[in-house]
């Protein structure tokens, strides 16, 4: 524990800026992953324990496309598109077989996929970590905001994740598919009662969830080292986010993700060994006070 360092930081504008920006990046990337997780849970009542794997594969895919074409944008798009397809395949051939089964059976299936994909990544990209490096277009001098160093790429990242989040919100709020998904998340029985094609709907939800996680993986690739198994910590964190926000609530996920990102970035200064512990404590406290999360429906 190093409370002095934390105190020093929060009283220095440059440190506050730096930590806030990095907290926002962590939070927004987390939000993209968690949004898909919470959407899938809301509509299908399935906990997708393989969601971190989508993120990992998205990152590796983006890396390879970037190395091949030199275009970061293309890489990110490939990560998103690839994981949308992967999500559909995953739903169609595996998850669909365990709808209604016990949550532990679903956990086991997803666990198997995680194990398989981690090893496949090892086979294809090797067991050692890979670094994508900063794409050339972002290799420019950093901004200084109130004394804090802010690489332009970070700002772009925050802007892009916000855009994606906004597009998701608009898509869910305005389009027909979006409205159906939202209705299904609120009341799954109603949707089949209305005669909506649930098979297609479920595929869609997994496509959207996979795409968001893949985009997040691709966006994060320049600032994260890629390793087989990198999906696990983001999985745990996005679970914390969805649970704190209330499972099924996108708005809840956004707020929880940003808060968690900030806890992480400031926590590493004050409690370098106990940053994760802080997140768990936050989750436990929220659930004790509000047993279904901040924006969750009471499950009766």
């Amino acid at each position: 524990m190093d409370l002095d360092a934390l105190l020093d930081c929060v009283t220095t504008s440059s440190c506050v800026v730096t930590q806030t920006v990095s907290g926002l990046i962590v939070g927004m990337l987390l939000f993209l992953v968690a949004a898909g997780l919470t959407l899938i849970f809301g509509v299908l009542k399935i906990v997708n324990f393989a969601h971190g794997t989508f993120y990992m594969l998205g990152a590796y895919l983006a890396y390879s496309v970037f190395v091949g074409t030199g275009s970061y944008v293309l890489g990110v798009l490939a990560g998103g598109a690839g994981m949308a397809v992967f999500g559909v395949v995953f739903e169609r051939f595996l998850i669909r077989r365990v709808y209604g089964a016990n949550v532990l059976m679903q956990l086991l299936i997803c666990y198997a996929v995680v194990l398989i994909c981690d090893d496949l990544v090892k086979i294809v990209w090797g067991p050692d970590f890979r670094a994508m490096g900063m794409p050339p277009e972002f290799q420019v001098p950093p901004f200084f905001i109130a004394g804090g160093v802010v690489p332009p790429f970070y700002l772009v990242l925050i802007a892009v994740t916000l855009l994606i989040g906004g597009a998701l919100g608009l898509g869910l709020g305005l389009t027909r598919v979006g409205k159906t998904i939202r209705a299904a998340a609120i009341n799954p029985d109603m949707v089949s009662a209305l005669g909506i094609n649930t098979t297609l709907l479920y595929s869609m939800v997994f496509a959207v969830g996979g795409m968001l996680a893949g985009l997040a993986g691709g966006l994060a690739a320049p600032v994260r080292s890629l390793t087989p198994g990198m999906g696990f910590s983001i999985l745990i964190e996005s679970f914390i986010v969805t649970v704190i926000g209330g499972m099924g609530s996108i708005a809840g996920a956004l707020i929880a993700a940003v808060v968690l990102g900030l806890i992480r970035s400031f926590g590493t200064i004050g409690f370098p060994l106990f940053t994760e512990g802080l997140m768990y404590i936050a989750m436990i406290i929220i659930l004790v006070v509000k047993p279904s999360g901040l924006f969750g429906k009471e499950i009766v």
């Binding site: 016990n102 949550v103 198997a112 996929v113 914390i240 512990g277 989750m283 279904s292 499950i299």
Partner: protein, 321 residues
């Protein structure tokens, strides 16, 4: 009739220990004994988890907290104090029970998936504490330095064979006790709550008390399993309280069968066998294990022992809906 059942179970248990004790005379070599010791530790843990999952319908993702707590409490008591091994054993059970009362009181108010995640958070919190409290726990290096004073009633548990028989006996005693628990009226209350919590409450059962009691009992048996592991590895390591340990137990009970009392034990044997065989064959352990799990899970859609029981025309004692 009840007494006859109990006596029969005890007789079978004694027989199993006797047979296991005899095996090394015919089959020398450490590998088998190591396997049984690890099996005993893990099977105690997995069966205790099944008291929650299979019998009460409480899907805990964080039961490894109590397994790990068992290893650390026991190893710390042996290393940092002068208490005897049996006393350290009892104190560890008490520590686990007390912890489970607090953790359980917080967790069991929550429902379904929230319960699952908050138990996991509790475990990961304990893991974080252990990693960061380097002075006491050795941090991510673990508690090294071995377990002193291993002689109990003239028997040296530092001796591989003695530890082997001790572990087998622990497993059998633990299983007999848990078998007794599920066969009592309290055990029936667990099934009532799993099947239909509302109805159970309307029959005058204090659902909250039953859940907390079984949560504490399960923690006690889990920590007993942890202590066996601590003796085996001569210490305690963060891996023994990290999330995959809970994953292994879940794997064992789902593979073995949540509906059969011995399902988790069978599942543990499958898991450890897979582990030992596959790691010897290939460096891609995850790939092989993942494929095997998928085949099992999608093929049988239930645990091995449940599958066998149903095939033989029986009705699994538990079962999750």
């Amino acid at each position: 009739m009840g007494r006859a059942h109990t006596l029969r179970d005890i007789a079978i248990g004694c027989l199993v220990v006797a047979v296991l004790a005899a095996i090394p005379w015919m089959l020398p070599g450490k590998a088998f004994q190591d396997f049984v010791i690890r099996c005993a530790s893990m099977a105690l843990f997995a069966t205790s988890l099944n008291l929650l999952v299979g019998y009460t319908g409480l899907s805990s993702f964080g039961h490894g907290l109590f397994y790990g707590l068992g290893t650390y409490s026991f190893a710390l008591l042996m290393q940092k104090t002068t208490v005897s091994l049996p006393l350290a054993f009892l104190l560890t059970l008490l520590i686990s029970a007390a912890t489970a009362v607090v953790v359980g009181a917080i967790c069991i108010r929550l429902r379904l998936i929230y319960f699952a995640f908050v138990t996991l958070a509790m475990q990961m919190l304990a893991h974080s504490v252990i990693i960061s409290w380097v002075g006491l726990t050795g941090g991510d290096q673990g508690l090294q330095g071995g377990i002193p004073r291993r002689v109990v009633a003239g028997i040296d548990l530092g001796n591989q064979y003695n530890l082997y028989v001790f572990s087998a006996a622990m497993l059998v005693i633990g299983l007999l006790l848990m078998r007794h628990i599920v066969a009592t009226t309290f055990g029936t209350s667990l099934r009532m709550i799993r099947d239909n919590e509302t109805r159970a409450a309307f029959l005058g059962i204090s659902v909250w008390r039953v859940k907390l009691t079984v949560f504490v009992l399960a923690a006690v048996f889990a920590s007993a399993g942890g202590m066996v592991m601590s003796l085996f590895v001569s210490g305690a390591y963060p891996e023994l309280i990290n999330w995959p340990i809970s994953g292994d137990a879940i794997f064992a009970i789902v593979m073995g069968g949540v509906g059969s009392f011995l399902g988790p034990t069978v599942g543990t044997m499958i898991l450890l066998l897979l582990n030992d065989v596959v790691t010897r064959q290939t460096e891609y352990y995850g790939l092989a294990l993942g494929i095997i799990i998928l085949l099992f899970a999608l093929g049988l859609r239930r645990g091995v022992l449940d599958f066998v029981t149903e095939r033989l025309g029986g009705r699994p004692a538990g079962g999750i809906h």
